[in-house]
């Protein structure tokens, strides 16, 4: 996945970051390279796998006195 200058601008706006044109160019190159590396995840079969968002299976922990 290549992140072009236009997309870098769009993401920067979403992230509330003001980038210089030099930074836009640099991040376009660096993030494209990183996303290229991350694409290797596409080769993993995850069709029957649940996502892990937290390693602890806890929800709605209520306050109590310690």
């Amino acid at each position: 996945m290549r992140l072009g200058i236009d997309q870098v601008k769009k993401v920067a706006k979403l992230a509330n970051l003001i980038l210089t044109s030099g930074e836009e160019e640099k991040f376009s190159q660096q993030l494209s390279k990183i996303l290229g590396y991350i694409e290797e995840l596409n080769s993993v079969d995850t069709s029957n796998v649940e996502p892990t968002f937290n390693v602890i299976d806890k929800s709605n922990v209520l306050k109590r006195s310690f």
């Binding site: 992140l3 997309q7 870098v8 993401v11 920067a12 979403l14 992230a15 509330n16 970051l17 003001i18 980038l19 930074e23 991040f27 660096q30 993030l31 390279k33 990183i34 996303l35 590396y37 991350i38 290797e40 995840l41 596409n42 993993v44 995850t46 796998v49 649940e50 996502p51 892990t52 968002f53 937290n54 390693v55 602890i56 806890k58 922990v61 306050k63 109590r64 006195s65 310690f66």
Partner: protein, 452 residues
């Protein structure tokens, strides 16, 4: 033996036996800081009025009245009005903060070079990085500028600098220690832990800092206690311990010199009576990719609070690395890419976690290198973020699975320290520490960095 050579356990005993006073103890460490910190740059701020056992604390852990910049210009002069839970816990055990340590900005980095206030130098060789992101905490303990230190580990930020700087570093299980007061980076991964001069010290510090409070609902309430369960600390051997060795941690990219030190340490474990078992962690190779999606996504959310209005300066004060990760995370969470990136990474995270569960069915601990190389030259990887990220390939999987990991000094390559990583089952720091302590004694490494 100088006061500053003593471990924490030895220091406590010496104080009890009145061999020296708290004033003499603090003066001895303050003198060393005065002498060596200007070139090491391990501390941002030194607390001259530290009164009892002096500990160094990573900048991003909140300390009342002491600057907590997290290595960032955006909150350069922030002094919290409260102490993090771990600091309160330490104070109640007779510990004081002698200084706040240098770090990569918001804990993002593997070399210490992403600090907004200059890199920390490796005490073993001032031209080398000390590792990161808890760079100053590792260097402070390695150079005897504090009895021990606290750091945080999200993808390896305690274990890797401990390895590169030749000290003991422990990342506890996720949820073992309250993070209240630690400036958040990636909340499903962050954990506070100790840098220490010995494994026994690390065990004691974990007892002190562990346990829940009402402010971190991911943290278990119970304190870590020395259990003397299956395997006693007083045992001098590793009989009946099954040590798993994953082939995936010894493949391409592992430096020959590092490999030799690690293999020698494993041989030593075998001599001590351990049973060496081959295990497989087949999804290890996806760890870095999974981590850089999940961590960056959580970063983009956590760092949104620095909006230039309520706390800190404007967002353009962020350094390159936080900006890069905020951008990456924002992209991964954005409409149209969320399923393909964030959810995909969370699913592969499940596979990595299952790898460990399966492997631990046939062993008690898993060992391997912490870092594929020894400390590298300052400046060497700073222009290639991906190369820097890949140096964390052996520490990231345990972070994603939430399990504990210890970095134990195991020897030297190219005259620089090499750490052995000992991973344990979830919430089984006891076995990790016990195995580490027996091996530490057998390896008997006495070398210290020679500072001039």
């Amino acid at each position: 033996m100088a006061i500053t050579d003593l471990t924490l356990v030895q220091t406590i005993k010496a104080l009890k036996d009145k061999q020296f006073s708290n004033e003499e103890l603090n003066q001895a460490y303050l003198n060393r800081i005065k002498r060596y910190n200007p070139e090491l740059n391990a501390f941002f701020e030194v607390n001259e009025s530290s009164g009892v056992i002096p500990a160094a604390v990573k900048s991003l852990i909140s300390t009342k009245g002491l600057k907590t910049s997290a290595g960032s210009k955006i909150i350069e002069n922030y002094k919290p009005p409260f102490n993090a839970t771990v600091i309160e816990n330490l104070i109640s055990e007779g510990v004081s903060v002698i200084g706040k340590t240098n770090q990569d900005e918001f804990a993002m980095g593997s070399s210490g070079e992403n600090s907004a206030f200059g890199s920390t130098k490796n005490p073993w060789d001032l031209k080398k990085v000390p590792g990161g992101s808890s760079s100053g905490s590792a260097a402070a303990v390695a150079a005897d500028l504090a009895v021990f230190a606290l750091g945080t580990d999200t993808g390896g930020s305690i274990r890797q600098p401990a390895s590169l700087s030749g000290v003991v570093g422990l990342k506890p299980s996720y949820g073992r220690v309250s993070r209240y007061g630690a400036i958040a980076m990636a909340s499903s991964l962050d954990q506070i832990g100790p840098f220490a001069k010995s494994v026994g010290d690390a065990r004691l510090i974990l007892e002190w800092i562990s346990g829940g409070d009402k402010y971190d609902s991911n943290c278990v309430a119970e304190k870590f206690k020395i259990q003397n369960s299956k395997f006693k600390i007083t045992d001098q051997n590793l009989k009946d311990v099954r040590v798993g060795v994953p082939e995936e941690y010894f493949g391409q990219g592992l430096d020959e010199g590092v490999k030799e030190v690690i293999e020698k340490a494993i041989k030593k474990m075998e001599e001590l009576g351990a049973e060496i078992v081959e295990v497989s962690l087949p999804n290890t190779k996806y760890g870095v990719a999974v981590y850089y999606i999940i961590m960056a996504s959580e970063v983009s959310s956590n760092l949104a609070r620095f909006d230039g209005i309520r706390l800190g300066g404007p967002r353009d004060l962020f350094g390159d690395e936080p900006k890069r990760r905020i951008m990456l995370g924002t992209f991964a969470l954005s409409s149209g890419y969320f399923e393909d990136y964030f959810i995909k990474a969370a699913k592969v995270r499940t596979l990595i976690k299952k790898d460990f569960e399966k492997a631990f069915a046939s062993c008690d601990v898993i060992v391997g290198p912490v870092s594929p190389t020894v400390a590298w030259n300052l400046g060497e990887k700073i222009d290639d973020p991906l190369k820097m990220y890949l140096s964390d390939a052996y520490t990231i999987p345990a972070s994603l699975a939430g399990i504990p990991g210890l970095s134990l000094p195991a020897g030297f390559s190219e005259n620089l320290p090499v750490g052995l990583q000992i991973l344990g089952k979830y919430m089984d720091e006891e076995t990790v520490l016990n195995v580490g302590e027996v091996l530490e004694k057998a390896l008997n490494i006495k070398e210290k960095p020679r500072l001039r």
